[in-house]
Every structure is written in C-alpha cells, then in structure tokens.
Symmetry: D2
Subunit: 351 residues, 4 copies
C-alpha cells in the first residue's frame, strides 16, 4: 500500500486527491496537511468526507512527512514546494508538485511571470513535466513531478499532434479558454463570491496569464523551436470544467492545398489512439465540459475552416481532475509502476 501525504489538503485540488484516492486500491492518504486548519477534522471542512475520513488536519512539515509516506502531493501556492524540497527529502519520497514551481525549465521565465524568487533552483533540471500522455517514459524515474497546470494540460493536449506533425503553424496559435470557478481556489476573495461570479463571464489575465509560458515551452518542444502564442482565459459561472478553443493556420501542402479532415484525424490517432484518457470525438462533435466532469478524460474535437485556412481545435477537461488531482494520481501510478488508470477509471458524472 502506497502511503500518501497531501500538503494543502483543504484546497479544492487537495481535497480532490483525497476523493480520488479513497477508491484507489493501492494507495491511502495518511497525512492531510493544512496550515489553516491544523487539528481540525478534515471532514469538518469538507462535509462530503463525514464518516469517511476521520483524520484531523496536520501541519505542512515536509521533513517529518518524508519519513512517513511514499509520496507527497503539494497542492499549495507557488513557491512553497520549491522552498521546502531538499536532497534528504528526495531520497525518501517522491514529490508530485501541483504548483508551478517546477514546470518551467528557465528560471528567469519563472521569476518574470510569477514575480517571486525560485528557492529550489538545483532541482529544476531534474524535475519532469508530468503531462502523462507525452512524458510517460521520463516520469517513471523522476523524483519530482511537476504536475501541469489546468489550462495548460487542456491547451497542450488539444494542439500537440498537429504541432508535432507540422500541420499547423505554431506561431499563429491562439488559445481562447474558459474555466469553472474552482480553478480560482478556495480563498475568501470578494471577486469569487457567488453573486460576483454567477450570471457573468469575463476575461482575465489577458496577454499575461502565467500558463502562457508553460504552453509555449511544451508546444515549443513539440515544434522543435521556440514559439509565441496568445492565450486568454475566461471565467464562466460553473464549478468545474475547462474548455479551450484554439485557432491556428494550417500549413499548406506542397500542392497548395490544405490538410484534409482525414490527415488531421490521422495525426490525432497517431498519438492518442491508445490513450485511455484522451477521447478524439467523431466528425461534427465538439467537446462539452459536462461530458468530462469529475473524470480524468480529455475530449478533443476539431473543424477545418476552408474559408480562412485555419483549423479550430477544441478540448475539454475537468480542471480539478485531469487539470490537477486526477493527473497527479495518474503520475503517481506511473511513478509506482501501477496501471496508469488505477483509481481513475470512472464514468464522468452527468448531470
């Protein structure tokens, strides 16, 4: 049985890890870390766990935790994981970091976009970007897995095969995405009150959202060159879900014609045919967040627009599952040599 510690267990992503692991046959949570609620019963914060989890919340002591568990999930604000991790800890446990600390390889890019100093620079290089479907092999031996962001997971997977196969010009890529409100976290901010969010939609982080360089770095690897894109997130009045609508110019073939529907579909199938969690939808069917809610699935659809020579690629995930806790568990499964879908093989809940 894999012993699991969660730091930041009372955030939405942390609690979602606990929810998923309850049905995981090979792992059990033994440490519910939450600075804000030390000694309070976890189920007094999350009533859904009443009579299911009896544990009280503990401090965020990573040293002590390293002795007690096999893997630590850090579902915490940026900077915390980078500031705590050290060689001694890494010798004892695997770390799956849900913050952005180890996602970007270039520390100056991190410090520019996040506005904080990186305290764990020596470990940036070895950390593996935990986008399971792309980096599965390198994740296996990692000590630190940088669990991808929610928008980035959706945005990258939706465009990856077409960038990789050079079917689209990556520098024309525009990612227009929306997220449910759980992506904003559980902090008590006026902006996230029910009445402020309900019956409204808004863009935010326009041209400067922190997930931008993460998308650029990963799709840049696929493209084999540095790329620059536009990414605009929006907030929509729903609890969960990310929907990304992405635009790019198709690269014409030698004869001047556009790639065909079949050629695009073949590219998706080349990379995703055997991917359990990626569902490429039939022609004319586009992703809807309701079909992936509470699940680890990524639904992808596309449409070629002959009039403009662009392709519209669309992807949907549950931001708390494939966009956070679910992918984190998927990474844990990879790290420990388990079936990748263990604990994650469920039908999305609808309605």
């Amino acid at each position: 049985m894999i012993k699991v510690g969660i730091i930041g267990a009372t955030g939405y992503a942390g609690a979602e890890i606990a929810r998923i692991l309850y049905n995981h046959p090979m792992a059990e949570v033994v440490w519910y870390g939450s600075r804000s609620y030390i000694d309070e019963r976890f189920s007094s914060i999350y009533g859904n766990f009443f009579e299911i989890v009896d544990d009280a919340c503990l401090d965020d002591n990573m040293e002590e935790l390293a002795d007690k568990v096999d893997v630590i999930f850090t579902a915490t604000p940026q900077g915390l994981c980078a500031g705590l991790v050290n060689e001694e800890i890494l010798k004892k446990v695997k770390i799956i970091d849900l913050s952005a600390d180890f996602r970007l390889k270039d520390v100056s890019v991190y410090e520019k976009w996040y506005g904080i100093e990186h305290k764990g620079v020596p470990y940036i290089k070895e950390a593996v970007y935990g986008l399971c479907e792309i980096n599965r092999e390198t994740i296996k031996d990692a000590r630190i897995v940088a669990n991808p962001g929610c928008y980035t997971t959706c945005s990258i997977l939706t465009a990856y095969p077409l960038v990789k196969e050079k079917l689209i010009d990556p520098n024309t890529l525009i990612v227009d995405a929306l997220s449910g409100v759980s992506g904003a976290g559980r902090g008590a901010k006026t902006a996230n009150l029910y009445c402020e969010v309900n019956e409204s939609a808004k863009p935010y982080g326009v041209a400067n959202h922190r997930h931008t360089p993460e998308i650029e770095e990963q799709l840049g690897y696929a493209a084999g060159e540095e790329i620059v894109i536009n990414f605009t997130p929006h907030l929509a009045p729903m609890n969960r879900g990310i929907l990304a609508t992405e635009y790019a110019s198709l690269i014409k073939k030698a004869d001047g014609s556009l790639p065909t529907e079949e050629e695009i579909r073949s590219a998706y199938e080349k990379y995703y045919k055997d991917e359990f969690f990626i569902r490429v939808l039939p022609k004319g069917v586009y992703p809807e967040t309701r079909w992936v809610e509470t699940s680890n699935y990524v639904d992808i659809g596309f449409k070629i627009d002959e009039r403009t020579g662009r392709i519209i690629m669309m992807g949907a995930i549950d931001n708390l599952v494939k966009g956070a806790a679910g992918q984190a568990v998927q990474n844990m499964n990879i790290l420990f040599g388990l079936d990748e879908k263990m604990g994650l093989d469920m039908v999305p809940a609808f309605p």
Copy 2:
C-alpha cells in the same frame, strides 16, 4: 456476473444506473432500453459514456429481456412496468421498478393520485417497498422491488426513528422540501428550460404531490396508524439534490417536559448506527446537498425548538442516487446477496 437490463436507459435515472454499474464488480449492463433512441448509440445521447459504452439503444421488450438478463431496472413513466410484468417474466428475472407502480399497497390510492388505471394489480401485494434501511429483510426474497421516490426516500428516513419511537406526533408532520431540476426528468418541456428555471425558486404540486401518500403510507406503518401530513416540494436551480426540512410537535414526556437532544439522538442511533449510507450529523450541523452529491448517502440533522415545542428535522440526498439509481443498485445488491454497498462506496463529489 449479474446481467442487467435497463428499460428507460436514456432518462437521467437510467443513465445514472449505467454510470454506477460501470464500477460495480459483480454486475454488467447488457441491455440499454430506450424507445426514443432505438439503434442510436447510447454514448451519442450521453457523451460522458463515449468510448466507455459502445452499445446501441434497444427496444423495451421485457419478454425478450427476461431471457437475457438476471435483473431488470425499469426507469420509466408510471404505468409501464405495471402493464408489462407477468408471471412468466417474474419466474425468470428480478424487477426493480423505479416508477411508482408498486409503491402504494392500496390500488385506489394509486389510481386516485396518479390518475391512471393500474394494470398489474395481482402483483401489488407481493412487491416490496425497497427502502433498503427499513425493509432490508423482506427485500431479500422479493421478485418485484418498488424503488422509493426521491422525495419520499429523503422525507421518510429523516423522520422515521422519531415516528417509530413515538417522539413526535406524526399528524403534525409538515415536510417542506426542495429538489434540483434533474428530478423533473429529461423531457423537452418549456418549464424546464435553463432560462425558465435558473435564478428562480418555486413551489409546485402544493397539497397534491404524488409522493404525499407514499410518505403517509410508510410513516403510517412506523406509527402504527394511518397518518395525514403536509408535503410541499419546491424546485431550486441546481442539477441534483433533495433537501427536506420537516416540522413536527414533540410528544411531551410524562412530566410534561420535551424529549432532550440526547433522547432524540439516541432514537436516530438506534435505527441508523450501523447504516453505512445514513450519516446523522453532529449537533449544530445541518445537511447540505453539496455534501452528498453523486453519492448514495443520506445526511440527517435536527434541532429542537423549545420555544414552540417542535423539532425541525432535516435530510439531504442526491435525488438521482439514493433517490433513484443508487438505491436501485443497493436493492439489487440485497436481492443477489452481495455486500449492500458494492459499487456505491464513493466519496461525494465536491465542488
């Protein structure tokens, strides 16, 4: 492996049975019955099942079905199950009927409140009312289980121990309840359009909702006498969830004092202490539908009002799970001698 057929698989309750059974280790759905969508792929209606269930929808042929499965769930409008069932079918399969056809023992009450003739009168007597926590023993040998209504499950379980223990006067009982919109079904009615329901709350079926006689009959058994109550359902703008707030006058003790908090709590514990799916909340904590969503749990809380001599009892369930599909699966587990919580032991999804 128990072979399962669902008649009415494309309604919300039917699809929820399919969702739950996907993770049931001892049962598999082999027949997705849906008159409206014959030959259409089930997953083309419910996109959450894409690449999970490949079956096409079939007709509602109960005769044929009886030869192919071990248990039939009828998640259909009132009248259908009563009209189809016969001795030959019942010799071959168990039937769990999610409609109201076999819930009321008095056929005249059924015909009065439902306004239709009952076509399966000979089977009313043998049918067992499938409120698992109350009727577990008799369910075991039933051929027809009448799966309780959503409001009724919540309303009855919330008050049952206090009626049974004669702590409240059942004829003073007032049940004021609200439901999410999935309780209204998937029919294309103007009244259930998003814009008609969103940002609004309304009472309906005032003093004549069909779940009234069902509550009266069951709580009447507990009281040992016929009772008459008030029940008012309301529609609230959310997908799932039932919340029942129930009022009754406490029966004074011989010395003229009211029952104490502890005496009330003891009564709940007497009946529910070992019930996995019933969670009696601590003092001062009241049920919220969010804590039971997508799960089979029933959360119950109460408050004595010394000023008025009444008790306020509150219960919450997920109308599609404990209020329909989950309880149906729980009944199936009982019928087939399985662990009652098989396939149902999950943490409610939040947020």
Copy 3:
C-alpha cells in the same frame, strides 16, 4: 429635488438604492458612503455604474451628511445606525435604516437575538416599522424608519390578512423560506464563494434566525396577542429572490367547517386590493421568484389543504428590492409625500 445620502453604498443593498434612484425623478444621490472604499470611485467597485455615476466613495460621517442631505439611508451592519443617531441629526434629516437597529420595540429582545448592546435606546420608541402596506399612515411623520428585513417583509405580508382576520391560528404558523445569496451580503467569506454555494441548498439559523422575533412582533400586533412561530431560512443557489412557504391551521367556523377558498381570497383582497406592489395570484398559481426579480412586487398565492385542515400560503419577493432597497425608496416616497411608486414602477426583468 430630494438630496440623498447612502451610508454603506458599496454593499448590495446600498448599491441597489443607487440603481433605483437613478431613475427617480425627484431624488438624487449626493453621498456614496463606504468606509472600505473611501476616495475610490464608486463605479470602480460597481462597474455597472461606469460613466453613470462619477462620484468617489466618502466616509460615513453622519453629522456632516446631515447638513448636506434630506434623507440618509443606512445600509450597514447592525449597531451602526443606533450608535450614530442623535437629536441634532434627526432635526435635520430623515433616516431610513436598513439594519435591524430600530425594528424591534423591546430592547431586551434585540439584545438577546443580536448579541449586542443597543446604543440608541431613546429613539426606539419613535422609530416606525417601515412595512409600507401596513404602516403607511404612521410612516408619513416618522423621523426614523426601520426598514424591515427581507425574510420578514415576505413572511409577514404573506400571512398578514389571515392573521388579522383570525382565519388561521397564528401559533401554528411555520415559515419555511429560502433566499438567494445576495442576502448574505458582499463580505469575503469562504461560505459564500461561488463553488461553496453553487449546486447546493442548505438550511441555516435553524430555530434561531434573527428575523424570527421581527415576524413574531409584527404578526403579534395583527393577532392582538403575543405569538410564537417557527421560521427556517435556507440558502439557494441564485443571486436574488426570497420564497416563503408558510403553514398554519385554519380556524374552523362555528359549523365546524373550514374557511372556503373565497373567504380566504376575500381576506387578502380586503387588505391588498388597492396595493400596487402586492399581487395576489389566481387560484392554482403560486409565486416564483423569477416573476418579481429586480422589482418591488410581492407575489402571494395560497392553497387550502382539506385533508390536514391547514392552509399553505406562499410569497415571493426580490430580497434586494422589496426586501431592502425598493421598500426603502418606497418609504422615502411616503416620508416626502410623493407618489409611493415613484421610481419603482417597472416590469420585473426576466429571464
């Protein structure tokens, strides 16, 4: 032109006063008081006022304000108005207090239910309870109007004629109500975050909500005796709206029969026939909050239940309008001898 000052202008009720008064032909807001946002532009907090109101927020200086305006609305937490008001101020301006400070005549009841000392005891007696349809005549000459609570406005008006006419036993009254989230105010509390409230319903303040004594006092006046009732509020996932469902035993006539539908309707008509803002619905039609949203209307319906001898009375209002800002403006109109519906005569917005 009546000059208006608002203390607490950046709360939901305060901003709603500003919204309504923008179309009031005889009043204009000249002071937007908000301790939290002094010197910030009002429209930077409430973007709906962008290019409509250019004022910056000012401090809550009631002395200074009294020299500049004709009427002050205090849309502030309990205790503030009572602590600021004095004879000098009252000589200069009318005060319409949206807090609970002057609603209860018995200071000990206030201090017990609100848990704070009342700092303006000398003014309690003269303050008039501003339930316009009931107290219109006494409001006219008031210096302090205690604007009723949202739940109380709806609860009282829904039952008032039947209590007054002795058609129901007021001590059997049970008020089961639900409110949209704006009733919880704009404070940054975790409990009111979008994801905590959305897709959920819950009771709160069970048997101890502060609006209970307010309903009891006012309906007690109508009954001509002290009464004790049950009141249970619930939170529902919507921005605006209050729906009250009220139960009471009908008082039998001399011949032992219940009052008829027509007798009940006559009682409502006796009091409300000429009331512009009270709409008694036709037989079989019940209130829905969507039909009163953004308006000052109160919709009332009822149903006699012959089986139980009870009547179910139902009322709906917009908690921010008739339940707060709208009724406050209606009170202002009465105080200044204007047409009572000035600035308030609008069709509710739907959907």
Copy 4:
C-alpha cells in the same frame, strides 16, 4: 403616443421589448402577437407582467396590424418577416425586424447560410442595417430596419474603429464569443433544458454560424474590402450576456513599430466618444457581462500584446437588450425622431 405591435411577443426578445416599452414615455404596445398562445393572457405566459399587462395574445396578422399601429417589431424565426412584408404594409407602418431576413444584402449569401428561400427580395435593398451607432443617419428614413444579431452587434462594435482606421488586419480577425442561454430562444428543446446546459460550456456552429457573414459584411464595409474571419460561438450557463474576445494582428507603422495604447484608444474615442451606450473601459479593465445585464450598454476593452503583435479586443452586451430588444427600441427612437436613449437609460441590474 407611438402605437406598437409585436409579432412574436412570447419569445424572449419579444417579451423584452414589452418590458422596455412599459417605461417608454412615448410608446405603448397595443398588439401582443403570438401564434402559439392566441387568446391566452400574455401575463399567464410571462408572470412578471401579472397585473401590469392585461392583454391577451393575438394572431400574427400583419395586414390588420398595419392599420392599427405605427411600428411593428417582428421577433420571429427567419423567413416570417420576409414572407409577409409588402408595399401596402410599408406605406402604413415602419417595420423593425429582429430576424435575419433583411440583414444581408446579398440574397445568395442569405440563402446559403440560412438554407431557405428569401421571399421578400424586392425589399432587401432598401432595408437599413440597424446598428444604431454606425448607421444612425440612414436609419432615420428607413421603412424596414434590419435589427442586427446579438453576436454581431457585440462583435462588430468591438472591432469597428480599429478596422475603420486600418489599425488591424481584418483578415486576421478571430472572434471567439460566448452567450447566455436566452440567445437560444424559448423553444422546448432537450438541448436547452436546465440540466443539459447548467455546469457546462460548449462551442457550437463552429466555422458555420450564421452570424459570420453578417459580421464579415459589416466589417467589410468598414475595411473597404471583402473580408473573411473566424467566428466561434459558445454556450455558457447563464441567462443573459454576450462576451466577445477578438484577436487581430496590428498593422505596423511605417517605422515598423506597433500602434500604441494611446493610438488605439484614440481610434475608439474618435467613433464612440459621444456614444451614450458604448463605454470604452479604462486601461487594464475588461468587460464582464454582469456590468451590462438588463441594459443597452456595450462595454469594450482592449489589450495590446507586444509579444505576438496582436491586439485582444473584448466586448460585452446583454444579448436580449443591446443584442435584440434594446437596440430595436433604440432604432424605433431614431425612426420617430425621439431621443435615442428614451426608455433605455437605466443602470444595469447587479447582482
């Protein structure tokens, strides 16, 4: 007093016209046309009008209507207005058509995108596209005003000054927009049921939505050339509101630099400085649909992305007001020489 007839009064846009005109000092609705509800009281369909409008619904007889009113609003499906209009009618009344029938000048484009034959071809040429802020002068003398679509109003106004001033390359324009559900109308379709729409977001009409040619035609006039764009609408779980996020490449200046923030702002001010209903937001502030709800305002913001050389333009409207009924009334005001904002000068309702 202008006498108004509404054909399609029981659709969301038709009812919104009735709501707005209730407070219009110079117009009154005398004909509530609704084929589906002939002889039923309008307020029995729209309970918000109870005791406000007593009229019963009438047939869609345009001939008869022309004799009784000064202006007809057709808030009906495509094809109806084009099929009814004739010279005799136009001699008597003004027509403001909220359908798409007279929006596109090229009948073949209409017939291709809408898939129906145009029955009123002789009147296409004279019909004026009623985008008030752009075509005010030509609207004044029109007999038929083609009221713009909801997405198109928002999309065009958001980009218009930059296209007109040649600051952006119109053929790089990508419009990614989302709408509340009222845009889908009041028809009883499964896809628009509460549970199907709530807690979900989806794209639809990808690369073939009918508002595409309308945007292209109007922005083409501004550009002085035919243009081709991408437009992708999405459905978001809210009643009202359209948010358009638009991307285009900035045209570099002679010195190779991008236009500055100030130059862009100047362009917006050149066209919109005196426009009452268009609010260009301050730097760093972006539109949110909540700030325009129930109002005729258009909120516009923008952000230059130096990294990609693109500009992100964002616009928000209420789809039922500026996107339909409000703009229709604004057009009526222009047609009859009234103050353009008569009946429309209100603060948006929030929350």
